[in-house]
Symmetry: C2
């Protein structure tokens, strides 16, 4: 089954009232926000990625889901395999780093053995609190679509991790994503819908639109690119499409009233208007005022090829 089919089947099971119909990245229960994500070696990270970076990404990806709810972090639980000593030590070092960087404490978890040669599979459950907890469903026709930071750096970093030449800053964007927790706290009370960009700007924008029963139009020319990305690859239409269909950005993508102006964000994080939601359905792209055909793949969808 692919992911949408499996999710549809899960939705026929008894769901908790806080599960939001399994249509959101987090559940809301008794003042807490809960989210969980799994990383698989060979799927979400490379066997050659340093263990410390895998630990960072595992926790950061989950904190990013809390950021999209505007939550304060309560802590994380981890499900991790025991491995070779040097891998385990690297993992623990990366874990120490990411917990310190975002002032997160460890709540619990489970450690397991894996069969020899098995792909490493790691899960994290992050618990937040005090969250406005916007979902994907609240956008209205006419809302503006905004995104924090820059897009495409992690996708470039993945190519670099796979052997292409490129700067350390782009590689770091892939291996050490920065969950936008502080920005999420500022933004969340003002938005109508929000999610983090984990599978690609276009697919995550299309999901917000679909969940809200709307269409979305993205201006490729407005997609914020970093100076490092532009130097590495360029800023033409194809460069922008590549950025907007790569995953792992972990920026915040949100819909807000068209008259709303974003406040200054912590650490001077940029925030850019990249599109508009409208009545209807589907995703459309334009660039320099011209329509752009949708690429065959607009982002990552697990199990799509199964």
């Amino acid at each position: 089954m692919n992911e949408p089919e499996f999710l549809a089947a899960l939705r026929t099971l008894p769901l908790h009232p806080g599960a939001r119909g399994l249509r959101d990245d987090a559940a809301v229960i008794g003042g807490f926000v809960l989210t969980t994500d799994t990383l698989v070696e060979g799927v979400h990270f490379l066997a050659t990625d340093p263990a410390a970076d895998v630990a960072w990404k595992l926790v950061a990806a989950n904190l990013s889901d809390l950021a999209a709810k505007g939550a304060a972090v309560e802590g994380v639980m981890l499900n991790v395999p025991l491995s070779a000593d040097d891998w385990d030590r690297g993992f623990l070092n990366g874990l120490r780093g990411v917990l310190a960087a975002f002032a997160v404490s460890l709540i619990g978890g489970d450690t397991v053995s894996l069969p020899v040669g098995a792909a490493r599979v790691l899960s994290c459950t992050a618990i937040g609190r005090d969250a406005p907890a916007p979902s994907r469903t609240g956008a209205r026709a006419g809302d503006a679509l905004w995104v924090t930071g820059t897009i495409g750096d992690a996708g470039a970093g993945l190519a670099i991790a796979q052997g292409r030449a490129g700067p350390a800053a782009l590689l770091a964007a892939y291996r050490r994503p920065q969950p936008r927790l502080a920005a999420g706290r500022v933004i969340a009370p003002h938005v109508r819908a929000m999610a983090d960009v984990s599978d690609g700007l276009l697919i995550d924008a299309a999901r917000i639109a679909a969940a809200s029963g709307l269409a979305v139009a993205i201006d490729l020319g407005a997609v914020p690119l970093s100076a490092a990305y532009v130097r590495w690859r360029g800023e033409d239409r194809d460069d922008r499409l590549a950025a907007a269909t790569a995953g792992d950005d972990y920026e915040l993508l949100f819909a807000a009233d068209p008259d709303w102006t974003p406040p200054p964000l912590p650490d001077a994080l940029p925030v850019t208007r990249v599109g508009t939601l409208a009545a209807g359905a589907g995703l459309t792209l334009h660039h320099d005022g011209e329509p752009v055909p949708l690429p065959a793949r607009i982002g990552w969808e697990h199990g799509a090829a199964v």
Copy 2:
């Protein structure tokens, strides 16, 4: 690293006050109890185990940790791989069964793709509430050690799943464990320490004793065996040692005041006094009044061979 080494390293990280020093099977946060367990194909279940039974065991093992806290179940989150269609359908059927059997709702989760041929790894996080939440640490010298149900049936069922002849009831004990949620609600307010028997009666008893700073003596002759187990294997000393060192029983093991008498349990679940806690340290066994040497392996410990 083995599991104790890895856990010792995790304890040097910033821990949540509700994490109980990572020395318990559950954390307690704001009125909720959280626990998480991972099952690995080839380690915790066999590649030949039906997918429906894997789903059952995944959820039941986590509910068992809630039972040991005396918690009411709030719901579960799942991290599961997408697989072949028939495996996924079997998994969903088993999931529907276990959720219905214990009146549990689904809170959320994550689905992932696995590389071709990779061992399946599945995690569940269970959330409970209203829990007395006894830990392993509260036993006192002189306390009696009790266990619910019967011991060794799941270990026998594992041998049957691996090809030995044996009755369906023992196989079912391995594949469809019954978390003692209702009994846990009744017992928890009266105990000094409690845990579920997941890795084996002897090792789990030794862990309660060690966490409480005590020694524990187990009377092998008192270990409750099912009629099916006795017919299948016998009830001599070696049969009792085999039962007490097998895992996956998911019964409740608890320490209580020596003068305490257990109340009738839901579904007439038996409860048996199997040992005594005392000042000192370590695990000792006896049978028919004679000391019994400790076997080389007293239960399951993940990563012990790494």
